[in-house]
Amino acid sequence: MRVQTLDLTNFRNYRRLRLRLPAGRLVLIGGNGQGKTNLVDAIHILASGRSLRPGPEAAWVRFDAPASEGFARMRAELAGTEGPAEVEMIVARARPEAGEASGVRRRVRIGGAPRRLADLPGRLLAIGFAPADLGVWTGPPAGRRRWLDLAVAQLDRAYTAALETYEAVLTRRNALLRRLQGGVGRPSELGFWDEKLTEPALAITAARADYLARAQAPLRAGFQAMQGGARFDLDYCPAAAQPTAAALLAALRQRRDRDVQRGASGLGPHRDDLAPLIDGRPLAHVGSRGQLRMAALALKLGQYQLALEALGERAVLLLDDVAAELDAQRRRLLIDQLPPQAQTIVTAADASLLDDSALAAAPRFHVADGRIEPADA
């Protein structure tokens, strides 16, 4: 799979951009705030519906876009084993003066036809490597679930819809729990929301377990490549391991009082975690900081390999400023492990970091103030 052209309108600092991308490797060089990260982020959003960076979606729209153009458009033409394809997202700022709730409205087109947001992931296959990812094993579980959700959604077209349903029900259940915590309403009102929660909860837990079972071997190979020697396992720690709807419903009912006391739901896949093991021991206890960071990169390499095996498709690799975060030896190790046939877009503020690597010969572009030009020109 590769991105052939990328069209951006009013996306972050890009007023208008139409870019043809080479099939192989590409290095984008530019200072902070010039737009190199924004470019790979646009591809990441078209791949997953989510940005590489935290922050509100309203920030996707160019901040000084006139009110009449309060929207951003991202569009990519793709070439894959199943032929050409096209994905597009339009993000419009809500207009509170027109009675719209705050935030944004997002619309998705696939092959020119309007589709649901949940239908987007998995069309453009891409894997992002961002500096924040390196801390995935030392940070909170949310970061690990985020990786898992993006990875599962690439292979499982129904997964994102299940996540959306789950989150919609969970938000309402939590709102009701806060009401009950404040003494308003009856606990029996939870019955409907408990029941609604179980179906997507079971689907999400099963999809995550299935993905991780299939991913063990590719993840182990990825870790071996980055770190050598030790045996790597990734354990799934589901918060709700109940195998049936009836069992999960009973468990939700059992902890109802505690949930009301906390004013939040304590049971369900929104509390899942992953535990990496090295030779059977928790990586978090025995690993050095460097090992933890290499194990973070192993996740992405394993994800790439599993997608290739399952779909016969090579994901586009997006390396955003990662080189600067690694010492020279680990930087070379990572670059050497990048599959040479994959379309790979690398951003760097300092291109000399890549000079002694396999990326030295890749075409380079300069990014400045939302404009992109070949470095040789």
Binding site: E97, A98, A168, V169, R172, V184, E189, F192, K196
Partner: protein, 200 residues
């Protein structure tokens, strides 16, 4: 800085802009339309707005807004009193009524169960619905809440509260797209949804 517009115009623009779906630009356009229109056209609109609340009652049976108590639908002896269609709000009632596919009576809940908006079952007219059913004339309650999570929650609550009563409880068929608001659905789809209703 002096306001470049007469005070009466600014006042009208400010009031119009407070209405839902109307932004400042639209408010300006509407105000100038009325200014350029004949004075009688503006006065007709003004009278309609001024008398909106006069003489409007809430029907004691169905809880719809009406000119008189009971409303024309509840007062109409030709309609089938055994069929009771439960809707979230008066606009949904109007959409079903305009579809021409329903000859029974209605019950307006004035909302749906919505934890996000702080609306619980007790904030709706469910108790009044139960009283109507208990009076015995109703044979079937058709729950026509919207095809949203909130509409589903409301339908389930009604189904549970009516359990054990000698009455059939049905829900509109899922011809309505999920997330669909009945108010915006065309007549043919409403007729199909009524036709294909199922036991709740």
């Amino acid at each position: 800085m002096a306001d470049p517009l007469p005070r009466a115009v600014t006042r009208l623009i400010d009031e119009l802009a407070r209405l839902p779906t109307i932004g400042p630009k639209t408010a300006q356009r509407l105000a100038f339309f009325l200014l350029r229109a004949s004075s009688s056209q503006a006065q007709t609109l003004g009278r309609a707005v001024a008398s909106l609340h006069d003489g409007i009652v809430t029907c004691g049976q169905c809880r719809n807004y009406a000119d008189a108590e009971p409303c024309t639908i509840c007062a109409d002896g030709e309609r089938n009193a055994a069929l009771l269609c439960v809707v979230e709000d008066p606009l949904d009632l109007a959409a079903i009524e305009n579809s021409g596919g329903f000859a029974g009576r209605y019950h307006v809940l004035h909302g749906a169960i919505s934890p996000l908006e702080g609306i619980g079952p007790d904030d709706l007219t469910i108790d009044l619905l139960l009283e109507r059913v208990a009076r015995g004339a109703v044979g079937e309650v058709i729950v026509a809440t919207n095809a949203t999570i909130e509409g589903d929650a409301t339908a389930m609550e009604i189904g549970q509260r009516l359990r054990g009563q000698p009455v059939r409880v049905t829900r509109l068929a899922r011809g309505l797209a999920t997330g669909g608001d009945i108010e915006y659905v065309d007549a043919a789809t409403i007729a199909q949804a009524l036709e294909g209703r199922r036991e709740l």
